[in-house]
Symmetry: C2
């Protein structure tokens, strides 16, 4: 992605030792640095100011090893997610993490932000898929834990400190990722509901009925469903309008025929029992693409207003229906707000909102933020499920973290980066 | 478990605030403390010396909440694992972590040691099942992150620092655990092999063929298989002796009939292709118990020698056959060693060894340790897959962690516990 920025310099290390040398000098001179990968982040975590040096990992793009027996791939930080997908395809393996920006997002950035996406429910977020990590600390110390092992209780599991820390505690240079056997069957279906309670029951019903093969369970609220399949989009609605909720679910299995029959049976039983209102099963590869394009490509939702605010919140799955009703009501009552589109990875408790406005007035922006974030405080939700805090959400960090937690985070930051050179000004006010 | 110990005092807090008050006083007076749960640890992590105060969490045993819709359970640290299993049974849910000591092990200890067990392959270790955590720091500060959410990228994920830190960075007082839908079908089979390479191919074959339902894949080497089913045990061998490796595998699915047929088909195809030598499928609930008792109850292996050394190592699955051959050869050539039993959670790269000796001579013990741990260094293995370091393995920590890693761990310890009161003398030399 071409994002213009001003910086003191851009350095392009070719090795971990290069990164170490650069950081040592910057540390000694208290020179702030910002790491750049694919620049697909959504929280402003790679924003640069003119006095900062950018370290771009784009030249470190070696796939160092693919181990079919231990089912691992070892890559440098600059390798793009889609390159990982492609590299393991011919081995009958998959790297299951998947999201829209896969053609640009780099592994270093994906680790640093603990990215999620469409199949977290089954395979977990990036954190769950990193077996080993190499990180360079602020002072240039190289921490090499590039192991191919799944279980390691030999003292503190340091990698988790760096995963999701948005470049503020160390620079990720390499990673060992876990691979999975490629599935042989795929089934997708759209299902309609008018009550959120029935969505939750259906999630439990399908999860039980598809034991282990359910890999995606997305929910799209009515207005977002219409917005994604209207004349502003090239995608048609798989189910007619008029329902309140639309679930898109996916199973990845091993027996094309048996898995399809199982899905059909579960859906027809649910219809018969009156637990779902309507359903359509993908009949072909092009149906799969159709269904998933509707959910994955949310660009059409950005064409309804002059200005938008995007949200990535997390809350307990059981509470989503009620809380989102409240949020939607509050938000749409704000003068200047034109619409509120809601959709998300409901099985993981992760909801996205696209809120359209007629102005980018600061007070309006703040009112919208408050309306979305305020209800999360009391119920133990999060202002960021998968995008991170960056600069965009740092004034709302205290809505999902206690003062004691933030204090402890700052203590860690100070301990690992005493001169505050690693991505300063991010995450914390 | 009744383990006699001498301590300055034993305190039995009834609340998180009690724990906080106790720690604040101990911190101010540099009084070392050791946390006690079910005392089922295998690395000496709860050993006490006479100048230490024991904090036992056994009075904090409330199950605070079961949320069927969000599929979580919130418990105090003193709740026993089996109590969690039983509490969710009637809701059609399971807490999937399972291991032999489930009747005594307490959640606080399980979190602190990041315990694993028999179904890690499918459901992950304790780390993967903890959604929220409440921890008291050395100075009494309460860090409350008791959230029911699956995804939370609002800055550093602090819970991972405490999970697996063996009580050296904080005291776990409560946890929110993730629940799963209870499976409706269970299939177990024993399968025989003479080559390790074929075991790995079979793992990949079954993992692909059972897409998502494979929940356990245990390997037992010939001598251990014989040791577990000989006259010293009440368990008979499900497959005849004479093969080199015995796999015990398990699938947990949703359709009793279809799942059974799928397993049968996969096994009969593998037999026909000559990829496996023999197989037997559990035909009844008592067969399941029989098969799994053979693997779970390893007590019979402790009856063959006067002295034993137990190991819990981790290495890449692809390398296990070759490396364990080397280790077995080296170990059994040591004078004083009588046998070397090997078995483990092979799909997770975790192998256990029971090495019998005719003496508890210190030099012999050290020679055995070296023979097992030395080969792990070069291949990026671990001296502890799931039991932790405690006191028993601290002189071998440097075999699985670099000096830079250990230095960073010590920095964390010093930052979080400056007066070194939390379980001092554990993990680090």
């Amino acid at each position: 992605m071409d994002v213009p920025f001003s910086a003191k310099a851009v350095v392009l290390p070719r090795s971990t030792q290069d990164v170490s040398n650069i950081l040592k000098i910057c540390h000694d001179h208290s020179q702030p640095v910002v790491m750049h990968g694919g620049l697909t982040g959504l929280a402003g975590g790679t924003e640069v100011s003119a006095n900062e040096i950018v370290i771009s990992l784009e030249k470190m793009k070696a796939i160092e090893d693919i181990d079919e027996k231990s089912r691992t791939i070892t890559v440098e930080a600059g390798v793009i997610l889609e390159e990982v997908h492609e590299a393991v395809l011919s081995k009958g393996l998959i790297f299951p993490l998947n999201f829209g920006a896969k053609g640009s997002a780099q592994i270093g950035g994906i680790v640093s932000t603990n990215a999620g996406g469409l199949r977290v429910f089954r395979y977990g977020m990036m954190r769950n898929l990193v077996l080993g990590l190499e990180v360079v600390l602020a002072d240039g110390t190289i921490i090499n834990s590039l192991k191919k092992i799944i279980k390691d209780n030999s003292a503190y599991d340091l990698k988790h400190m760096f995963i999701g820390s948005e470049g503020t505690l160390g620079v990720v240079t390499k990673a060992v990722l876990r691979l999975m056997e490629a599935p042989r069957s795929r089934n997708s279906a759209f299902v309609a509901f008018n009550e959120y309670e029935k969505v939750v029951s259906f999630l439990k019903y399908m999860d039980k009925g598809l034991a282990g093969t359910l890999s995606g369970f997305e929910l799209i609220w009515d207005k977002a469903y219409e917005g994604l399949s209207s004349s502003k989009s090239s995608v048609k609605p798989p189910l007619p309008y008029g329902h309140q909720y639309y679930v898109l679910l996916e199973s990845l299995g091993s027996h094309p025929e048996a898995d399809r029959l199982a899905m059909e049976q579960l859906l027809s039983d649910a219809l018969e029992m009156g637990n779902i209102l309507d359903a359509v099963l993908a009949q072909s590869e092009s149906d799969h693409r159709w269904f998933w394009t509707l959910r994955e490509d949310v660009q059409p939702l950005l064409h309804y207003s002059a200005y938008e605010q995007l949200f990535d919140i997390s809350l307990p799955t059981g509470l989503i229906g009620k809380i989102l009703d409240t949020i939607e009501k509050e938000v749409t009552e704000i003068s200047g707000v034109e619409h509120c589109f809601i959709f998300g990875h409901i099985a993981d408790g992760n909801v996205h909102l696209v809120i359209g406005k007629n102005s980018d007035d600061q007070i309006l922006t703040k009112m919208v933020n408050e309306a979305v974030y305020q209800p999360l405080k009391a119920i133990g939700g999060s202002v960021s499920a998968e995008h991170g805090i960056g600069v965009h959400k740092k004034q709302y960090l205290s809505y999902s973290r206690s003062l004691e937690e933030i204090e402890l985070m700052k203590t860690l930051k100070k301990t690992l980066d005493p001169n505050n050179i690693l991505n300063p000004g991010k995450i914390f006010i």
